[in-house]
Symmetry: C2
């Protein structure tokens, strides 16, 4: 049996100026389900704690629950209870239970294992930057589009990835993975956690980190390096895992596990020590 | 398997001007464990979500966790994980899992069943009133005493009942109870919930509601009616349950289940319709 909990606090994890209650509810479920998937499990039940100020409207409340319901349906789990309270700001906390035939932890990576990610990285972090520029909500759940920079065809997928992330299912990987986790705080910080728990190091190849065409275009428009979004930005909810080198995996191989140290090998073959970026609570 | 969650929000559920972090941690566990006990279960594991502003000190954080640890030890359960975040105010949310050989719900009360409570009611609500008058924290966990009104011998137990409540174990009752819940929001409001879920009514005898000697004395000092604390005040965490009239129960019998309506029979035999008091979130 697996149990996980994740909290979302207004002003820290989200800003109602650019996320709709529907999107917030959808995201809350995804974030928690992602933790169950990350252990190779299947989500079953959810409990919800919800707190909001008195001026949070019924319309917003209904929309929040519609978003929760949509994500519950997507991932096939049931909301079975919770607690509701008044509060000075909006706080959501969910607990999801699940089960796994075999739990995949963070501690099993061995030197020589290859390192994989399940999909493109950095889209969500870039989507957040774009939302801050746009500065208002976009009802993507109702196919609303906004004209911004390189156009909605580029911007839309990035923004969606941030506002309504999908948790990545682990079935394809967890039979063979030696260690696994989801990327919630950023590739570098999450990889450093996996390495720490496994007592190993890692070498990452910069040019193998999967970056979407949309991210490349949008980063150019924002005058930013897409690799910074992909390595330092969080909330991708892709899976990061390791597997023996003789096993074929349907994922992006970005490097290999070493005995110690965290290094990135640049496009020119230059070796850099990885410095940990990613979201830090209570950072000074 | 049982799962429950309860949230405590600064300014709504507690005020750090008169509760210490230790007491807050202890109470959070009690409140959640009480929900498991209320279903006839045994608590096993806890997850904790904790959010606080940046100026919440390490000393306070350590004290909070000491209080949590003390309550976990009392009720023999383990903290297995959680989530920590920055926030504009202190928010605690816990989820407790447990197990029960046979779950006792709220829906099994039948006309003719007797209504029981496991202990004195109203102490906690009176303790809160006293704390508001005292207006500062009392480290009862370190045996601190305060000189107030009728004296610490009277005031101490009431204040302790509010700040560091104990969840009431159900073993003695749950084999025979037809319906059960804990009294968290107040006798009348919680009884009305039990009756609603069972599709029945209730008649309560005012003079059978168990009131402690300390509450009588303190209520007199506060110029209040102890019965108002006992019926309208919350956070007693005593068990409220029903059982067939031919079964002997080691608890206070306060009335009986009827076909419909909620009535209190006064000391003079006068019959009054029960009006629901108790804490209401989002009340206008």
């Amino acid at each position: 049996m697996l149990l996980t909990t994740d909290m979302m606090v207004e002003g820290v994890h989200f800003d109602l100026r650019w996320i709709t209650p529907f999107q917030l509810g959808f995201k809350l479920v995804s974030v928690n389900v992602s933790d169950i998937y990350a252990m190779g499990g299947r989500p079953e039940f959810m409990l919800l704690d919800f707190a909001a100020p008195g001026d949070f409207e019924k319309r917003q409340f209904d929309s929040l629950f519609d978003g929760i319901a949509a994500a519950l349906k997507t991932h096939k789990l049931s909301l079975i209870g919770g607690d509701i309270s008044a509060a000075g700001l909006v706080v959501l906390s969910a607990t999801v239970s699940g089960s796994a035939a075999k739990v995949v932890g963070r501690g099993g990576a061995k030197p020589g294992d290859l390192i994989y990610v399940s999909g493109h990285l950095g889209d969500s972090a870039c989507g957040l930057q774009i939302m801050k520029r746009i500065g208002k909500t976009i009802m993507i759940e109702k196919n609303e589009q906004v004209d911004f920079g390189p156009g909605w065809k580029t911007v839309g997928p990035l923004v969606r990835r941030h506002l309504m992330p999908f948790a990545t299912k682990p079935e394809r990987f967890c039979g063979k993975a030696t260690a696994m986790m989801d990327i919630s705080d950023g590739l570098f910080i999450d990889l450093s956690r996996l390495c720490k728990e496994s007592g190993v190091g890692a070498a990452i190849y910069e040019d193998r980190i999967p970056i979407s065409g949309e991210l490349r275009k949008a980063a150019q428009y924002l005058d930013a390096d897409p690799i910074d979004f992909a390595t330092g930005g969080g909330e991708d909810y892709e899976l990061l895992f390791t597997a023996p080198s003789n096993v074929k995996m349907d994922a992006f191989c970005i490097g290999e596990i070493t005995k110690k140290g965290l290094r990135m090998i640049g496009r020119e073959g230059d070796v850099r020590k990885i410095s940990i970026k990613g979201y830090q609570h209570f950072a000074l």
